[in-house]
């Protein structure tokens, strides 16, 4: 299969993820969508790696996964903290940083 199919899928996944981040209000779903965007990127990396016959892209994808795992830890931690403080789980209502 040509690399274009993979790229089209990756772009679609990324667009879904970005759309989710922009329109959903629940922090949990936003986090999921972020993961989707990261994995879209991973897919593109792996596809290019395969096309070029070079393992660098796959290594990069592994690194992205590690970073994504870390990010999830922080993100989920925040969500748990928000819940424990009985704050609304709605990013539009959490506007304490307004300038």
């Amino acid at each position: 299969m040509a690399v274009e199919w993979y790229l089209v899928l990756s772009a679609l996944l990324f667009a879904v993820g970005a759309g989710g981040v922009l329109i959903r209000r629940s922090p949990l779903v936003i986090l999921l969508c972020l993961e989707l965007m990261l994995n879209a990127g991973n897919l593109a990396l792996v596809a290019f790696s395969r096309m070029l016959g070079n393992a660098d892209g796959q290594v990069f994808a592994l690194v992205v996964m590690v970073v994504a795992a870390c990010e999830v830890v922080v993100g989920l931690g925040l969500i748990v903290a928000i819940y424990r403080r009985r704050l609304p789980l709605n990013v539009d209502e959490l506007r304490g940083l307004r300038g």
Binding site: A18, V21, V91, D92, R95, G96, L97, R98, G99
Partner: protein, 669 residues
């Protein structure tokens, strides 16, 4: 041990004493601190004598010993050492300073007895003596400036000793500020010397100076004038003298120590020390001599009219320092230093006697209120009379020989220097009158109520504590004078100190009697051997002629004082009425305070307030406020983006990246 080792020990003991007293200020009970302080200075004096003996053991040519503890700075041609110079001049000075200081410490042990700041007082006092000894022993200009500044600080601390008295703290600040003016002059002089000659070391400077400068070249004149600024500030010469009378706010032993015997002589010492430079700049030396002459006349005339006992003595100090400055400036080095020594004796004695009288008057200092202490305080009165005799130059007292030695030298040098002799005698007449004005007012006459009470009950009169200058009510806690007033009659240490000084004031002159001996000149010769001026010596006949004139003037002056203050007491009031403008002029101290106020303080204040109004308010504050406005305005614009909506941030991020990606995509194709 060599002379230099003893000289280091001379420095060590007062410094150690000061530190030990200060560290143990909670521990030392009673008069322990006083005895530690006195002991430290006594040890210092013993070591000074040892240094003197060792130095006399050297051959005359080799009596310039230097010693270095370590290098301050040694880089790029700069070589500053923590070093001392031991030569006849510095040994002479440490003998006078430590000797007289020892007696003043002894006096203070009793005098300050009831003061709550007793321990602090002796710590300051020892530190002061250390600073003065450092000043005279320093082997280069840098260490000299260190000692010079220490002395300034110590005098500030001691003048403001009663720190809850507003007048005392004000006087301390005044002394400190004027002294700093002098410090600045001295620092500039040292920098100029280094620029021209490349060294700070005394001996090297004096060695290179004759080759480095033409006579009266502007640089050497500038150096000498800057040195004079320093010397005049410390020695209270016109126009930097106004701090000295005010400094009488300090305790009386402080007046005796700082403002009679040691600190004010620093300027005289400095001119004598740098005499090779002054001989290359005769113009500067003449300026110094005429300033000294003006000071001795101005101060003498003021002393005739002020009524504060300590201030009369303070003005007489200024006047006598004027004689010394004239002496060392015109070349009568040994005579000037001889007068420095005898003056230290009789002036310290006068201050001590005055302190005793002031204590008996419960801290009041107005001589118009004093009279008839002759019976109540016989010992003090005798001391006062001896001190005044020596000050007036009564025949065969110490002041008689030393003052006339300066005037005699001036007349021998001839030419315009005859002026110094003639006007010096005018000053001597005033000296005799004002010194016996003190005696006749305090000792003679009907006993005042305080004297009567003292004579009858043996107790010092009790009075509510108050500031003698302003009449403000005070208490007797720390920061104000203590509750009890000690007079010399009753405190053995004070009697001892005054007795020793009285003997010295009477017979101190035997060191140098024309035609009989010249111990001081002989001793100081190695320091001044290269001086052409020191070689001029009046003949014995001339000296005795001048001594006779001086003695006659002293006797006439004392007789005039007798007529004015005892025989016809009403005549002073008549004189004051006849010469009203002159009296007002003198009582206001020639308006020097007002002159300095108009010439320096007011313009400085005007410049300051102008800078405040224009520069500070408009330029600086405008700049600051403008910056703030710009930043705040920009922030106001940018803050609208900071909405707090996480999703709008995400949109900005994604939109931004998309835009950026599109831009590169389009621009690359």
């Amino acid at each position: 041990m060599s002379a230099t080792t003893y000289a280091w020990l001379v420095l060590l003991f007062p410094l150690g004493g000061s530190i030990v007293i200060a560290l143990g200020y909670r521990t030392w009970s009673g008069r322990t601190a006083g005895w530690i302080g006195t002991g430290a200075i006594a040890l210092s004096f013993v070591n000074a004598i040892a240094a003197f003996v060792q130095l006399q053991g050297e051959p005359a040519k080799a009596r310039h010993l230097t010693s270095t503890l370590w290098d301050y700075a040694n880089a790029a041609g700069l070589d500053i050492k923590l070093g001392i110079l031991v030569d006849p001049l510095s040994v002479f000075m440490i003998l006078v300073v430590s000797g007289v200081s020892m007696l003043i410490h002894l006096y203070s042990v009793g005098y300050m007895g009831s003061d709550r700041g007793y321990t602090r007082f002796f710590s300051y006092l020892n530190f002061f003596v250390f600073s003065m000894l450092l000043l005279v022993l320093a082997g280069n200009f840098v260490l000299l400036i260190v000692g010079w500044a220490f002395v300034g600080f110590a005098s500030y601390a001691l003048i403001s000793f009663w720190y809850r008295r507003a007048t005392a703290t004000g006087a301390g600040m005044k002394a400190f500020v004027i002294n700093v003016v002098g410090d600045v002059g001295l620092v500039f002089a040292a920098i100029l010397i280094f620029r021209e000659l490349g060294t700070f070391d005394y001996l090297e400077v004096f060695d290179r100076a004759p080759g480095g400068f033409h006579t009266n070249e502007w640089t050497i004149v500038a150096i000498c004038l800057l040195i004079l600024v320093g010397a005049f500030a410390k020695s209270a010469q016109l126009p930097l003298h106004t701090w000295l009378p005010d400094a009488m706010e300090g305790p009386t032993p402080v007046s005796a120590l700082i403002h009679a015997a040691t600190m004010v002589t620093a300027g005289v010492y400095l001119i004598a020390r740098t005499h090779p430079l002054f001989e290359l700049a005769p113009t500067a030396a003449d300026i110094a001599a005429f300033t000294g002459l003006a000071t001795l006349l101005v101060a003498g005339s003021i002393a005739l009219v002020v009524t504060d006992l300590k201030r009369i003595i303070a003005y007489s100090t200024m006047s006598q320092i004027g004689y010394m400055v004239v002496g060392v400036s015109i070349g009568a080095y040994s005579a000037g230093l001889f007068h420095l020594m005898t003056h230290a004796f009789f002036k310290a004695l006068l201050f001590m006697a005055a302190g005793s009288v002031i204590a008996a008057m419960a801290n009041r200092q107005d001589i118009d209120r004093m009279s008839g202490f002759g019976r109540a305080m016989t010992f003090t009165s005798v001391m006062l009379i001896i001190g005044s005799l020596a000050l007036a130059g009564f025949p065969f007292t110490s002041g008689f020989f030393s003052k006339d030695a300066i005037l005699s030298y001036a007349s021998t040098r001839g030419g315009m220097y005859e002026i110094f002799t003639v006007l010096g005698y005018v000053g001597a007449l005033m000296t005799a009158i004002y010194s016996f004005r003190i005696v006749f007012r305090v000792v003679a006459g009907e006993p005042c109520s305080e004297a009567e009470e003292l004579a009858e009950t043996g107790h010092v009169v009790h009075a509510e504590p108050e500031n003698p200058a302003t009449g403000d009510v005070e208490d007797t806690d720390v920061g104000f004078p203590g509750p009890e007033h000690h007079i010399a009659e009753q405190a053995p240490t004070m009697r001892m100190a005054m007795g020793a000084l009285a003997v010295l004031a009477l017979i101190g002159g035997v060191l140098q009697i024309p035609g009989v001996d010249d111990a001081i000149t002989k001793f100081l010769e190695p320091t001044f051997e290269d001086s052409a001026l020191a070689a001029i010596q009046p003949s014995v006949g001339d000296e005795w002629r001048d001594l006779t004139i001086g003695g006659a003037i002293a006797v006439v002056g004392i007789f005039m004082a007798y007529l004015l203050y005892v025989a016809r007491p009403a005549s002073t009031a008549v004189l004051v009425r006849r010469l009203r403008p002159l009296h007002t002029f003198l009582v206001n101290k020639w308006y020097f305070d007002e002159l300095i106020d108009v010439a320096i303080v007011r313009p400085a204040l005007a410049v300051g307030s102008f800078c405040n109004r224009v520069f500070e308010r408009l330029v600086v504050q405008g700049l600051v406020a403008g910056t703030v406005d710009v930043v705040r305005g920009a922030g106001g614009v940018v803050r609208t983006a900071q909405s707090g909506f996480v999703r709008s941030y995400a949109l900005l991020l994604i939109g931004g990246f998309t835009g950026l990606g599109l831009y590169f995509l389009l621009s690359s194709s």
